[in-house]
């Protein structure tokens, strides 16, 4: 069963303990200065944004059919069966196509390093594989970040909106965006106020390229035969002409 995270912004109190727990889990530095930074970066995989009295988390959405994993030429990014989208620096060659392709601009780069890698939230893949919840969900004091089976979380999100329609926008962000994501968000105010794009397609992004790429194996023999055929025809004419000319010359020689 695929796991997921449900973040309910209406329950969030902005304590940023998830930020701290995330940094500890991933071996990243965390202090007051980093807590102030309102963007995710190579050293900050999740951030709690504040606007007036509203909060919103940003983290890797761990898409069901992730663009980053689809575009990676060496398979350094992978969607695991449990839900997390992981990164293996040992395979990476640093083309940064994952960063360009991600619809949420999640993957960050270690620009200052001479041997850089991609950094992002991996939904605590080792913890999840060990049957534990993500660090951010475990520490959350209000249950705003909840870890569980994605299907169950989706049902719960629907129920929360249904039971309390005045409290929520009638939209579960991540239910259908880019084909669905493991991380889902609930909010009372527009997601776009916190930098989330609300114009995303519901189609899984890898389908855009796959519908072209998948035709290549069919295309190669067809086009190859076409080119070879054109060569054969255009040069055949010439062989005939040459043979005729030689014939003529030979006859001329006899006479």
């Amino acid at each position: 069963m695929s796991k997921g995270i449900l973040y309910d912004a209406t329950l969030c109190i902005g304590c940023k303990q998830c930020e701290q727990a995330c940094a500890t889990e991933n071996g990243l530095p965390y202090d007051d200065k980093i807590a102030e930074q309102a963007v995710t970066s190579a050293h900050k995989y999740t951030v709690v944004l504040t606007k007036d009295d509203k909060f919103m988390r940003r983290l890797c959405m761990n898409c069901d059919d992730p663009a980053c994993a689809s575009v990676c030429p060496v398979g350094a990014m992978k969607k695991t069966a449990l839900g997390p989208v992981t990164y293996d620096k040992g395979r990476c060659m640093g083309c940064r196509y994952c960063m360009a392709a991600c619809p949420f601009s999640v993957p960050k780069y270690e620009w200052d390093k001479a041997v850089p890698g991609v950094r992002k939230c991996t939904m605590c893949s080792p913890r999840v594989a060990g049957g534990k919840p993500t660090a951010c969900a475990e520490i959350c004091p209000t249950g705003a970040t909840k870890f569980g089976d994605r299907d169950e979380l989706l049902e719960e999100a629907k129920k929360r909106i249904h039971d309390n329609p005045g409290n929520y926008l009638p939209h579960i962000f991540g239910e259908t965006e880019v084909g669905g994501t493991s991380v889902m968000l609930l909010s009372s105010v527009g997601f776009n106020q916190f930098g989330y794009r609300t114009d995303l397609t519901e189609r899984a992004l890898p389908m855009y390229t796959y519908q072209v790429l998948s035709r290549i194996p069919d295309f190669v023999p067809l086009f190859g035969v076409l080119l070879g055929g054109v060569y054969w025809i255009t040069h055949r004419r010439e062989d005939v002409a040459q043979a005729e000319a030689e014939e003529k010359q030979r006859k001329g020689g006899v006479q």
């Binding site: 970066s41 190579a42 663009a67 689809s70 575009v71 990676c72 030429p73 060496v74 398979g75 350094a76 395979r91 990476c92 060659m93 640093g94 083309c95 940064r96 196509y97 960063m99 360009a100 392709a101 619809p103 601009s105 960050k108 780069y109 270690e110 620009w111 200052d112 390093k113 001479a114 041997v115 850089p116 890698g117 794009r197 114009d199 995303l200 397609t201 992004l205 890898p206 855009y208 390229t209 796959y210 072209v212 790429l213 290549i216 295309f219 190669v220 086009f223 190859g224 080119l227 070879g228 054109v230 060569y231 255009t234 040069h235 004419r237 010439e238 002409a241 040459q242 005729e244 000319a245």
Partner: protein, 394 residues
């Protein structure tokens, strides 16, 4: 001959200046990282090196497959004398692209990974394989020139006997990766401005590669006649100019239809950052060159052809930069301008290209020798040369 010598020393000085700046920037790039040597950021992970060095580099090398296809496969013999310089340009172009890629990749020593770590769903994986294979094919297509120079008859014979296979393979691989550079962006419908994101991106990239291949050949022949004192093959260039008219017209019509059907046409008339660059691109790449080449007087003249070709090249360079930079800037709401170090590295690769082409043209049999052709015993032994061109007028 004193005047051209002066010119060459001037260009030599410029070349040395660029190269020494390039070496310093190389140090910055590899010892201090991409952050210190580029203006790239998390919002803007691909910049000038991808936009120009790779995207335009591959595009500008398209003359190789366009001309070999015309001469070897379609058997259009009158283009034969210009195949070698275009194959040289293509081979050089791809080597430079690979070189530039080593600067852009974060972990360039892992560049061989796609050979053993496979993700066939990745367009980049396909491009990596195609570019790798095509560079090998180009080396083989180029090899007769070197073998002839050293008079190695036996390997020359072997290479020639299988040349057709290389040519077909080369055209196939080029078709695949020229279009795939456009396919790279299909996965970003939300991160590329509607002027440029289109399901037809691979088709546009392919057709424009052919247009650029033709324009580059005209440009190159004009330059060679100017700097190597070669006779200008004007009748050939006129023919290329005609083909260019057709290709540009096809491209222009398809572009119009694409914008129309996607409902983007009205945006062309709304002033914006993206609109200015889009108009610049369309005027340079299609409207002005097409307008010029449709006038017989311009199409027939050496200067007219040269100017139209240069505009076409600038236009499609603008197109590739619009796709990689302007179109992304507009969609993600971030601005990017290359750092001086990025510009220097790019200039270094361009300078290297010119320098190596110059050296090769001087020391290798790139151009058919007009003098030699007058010696009756001389027989151009190239693969497509056949003694009796009875149906040459097809």
């Amino acid at each position: 001959m004193t005047v051209p010598r002066m010119r060459f020393t001037f260009w030599k000085a410029i070349f040395l200046l660029i190269m020494s700046a390039g070496i310093y920037c190389t140090y910055l790039r590899f010892f201090h990282g991409l952050g210190a040597s580029t203006n790239l950021s998390d919002q803007f992970p691909w910049g000038l090196w991808i936009g120009f060095d790779v995207m335009c580099g591959v595009m500008l090398a398209a003359g190789g497959f366009t001309l070999t296809a015309a001469v070897e496969i379609f058997n259009i013999k009158r283009f034969h004398s210009i195949v070698r310089p275009t194959v040289l340009t293509a081979f050089l172009g791809y080597l430079l692209v690979c070189g530039a890629l080593m600067y852009d990749l974060g972990l360039p020593w892992n560049i061989w990974h796609p050979l053993v770590m496979r993700n066939p769903h990745s367009v980049m994986f396909e491009v990596a394989w195609c570019v790798m294979l095509y560079t090998t094919v180009l080396a083989l297509e180029f090899s007769p020139i070197v073998l002839e120079h050293f008079n190695l008859q036996k390997p020359l014979k072997i290479v020639r006997s299988v040349m057709v296979v290389f040519v077909i393979l080369g055209v196939l691989l080029s078709t695949l990766h020229q279009s795939s550079l456009g396919t790279l962006y299909l996965i970003m419908p939300n991160k590329l401005h509607a002027f440029w994101w289109s399901p037809l991106l691979p088709v546009f990239f392919f057709i424009s590669a052919i247009a650029v291949g033709l324009a580059m050949t005209i440009f190159e022949s004009s330059m060679s006649s100017k700097y190597f004192g070669r006779e200008l093959e004007l009748p050939i260039l006129r023919d290329l100019g005609r083909v260019l008219v057709v290709v540009l017209a096809l491209y222009g019509i398809l572009k119009f239809e694409d914008l129309y059907h996607r409902g983007v046409l009205k945006l062309v008339f709304v002033p914006s950052y993206a609109q200015r660059f889009f108009l610049l691109e369309i005027f340079l790449s299609v409207l002005i060159p097409l307008g010029m080449l449709l006038v017989p007087k311009i199409r027939e003249s050496a200067q007219g052809l040269y100017l139209a070709a240069v505009l076409t090249l600038l236009g499609f360079v603008t197109n590739r930069l619009n796709v990689t930079i302007t179109g992304v800037e507009s969609a993600v709401g971030a601005r990017y301008a290359p750092k001086w170090t990025e510009v220097v590295i790019t200039a270094m690769f361009v300078a290297l290209g010119f320098a190596i082409f110059g050296l090769a043209a001087r020391y290798l049999p790139i151009f058919p020798e007009e003098k030699k052709a007058q010696i009756p015993a001389f027989r151009e032994p190239a693969y497509a040369e056949v003694a009796v061109p009875v149906h040459a007028g097809d």
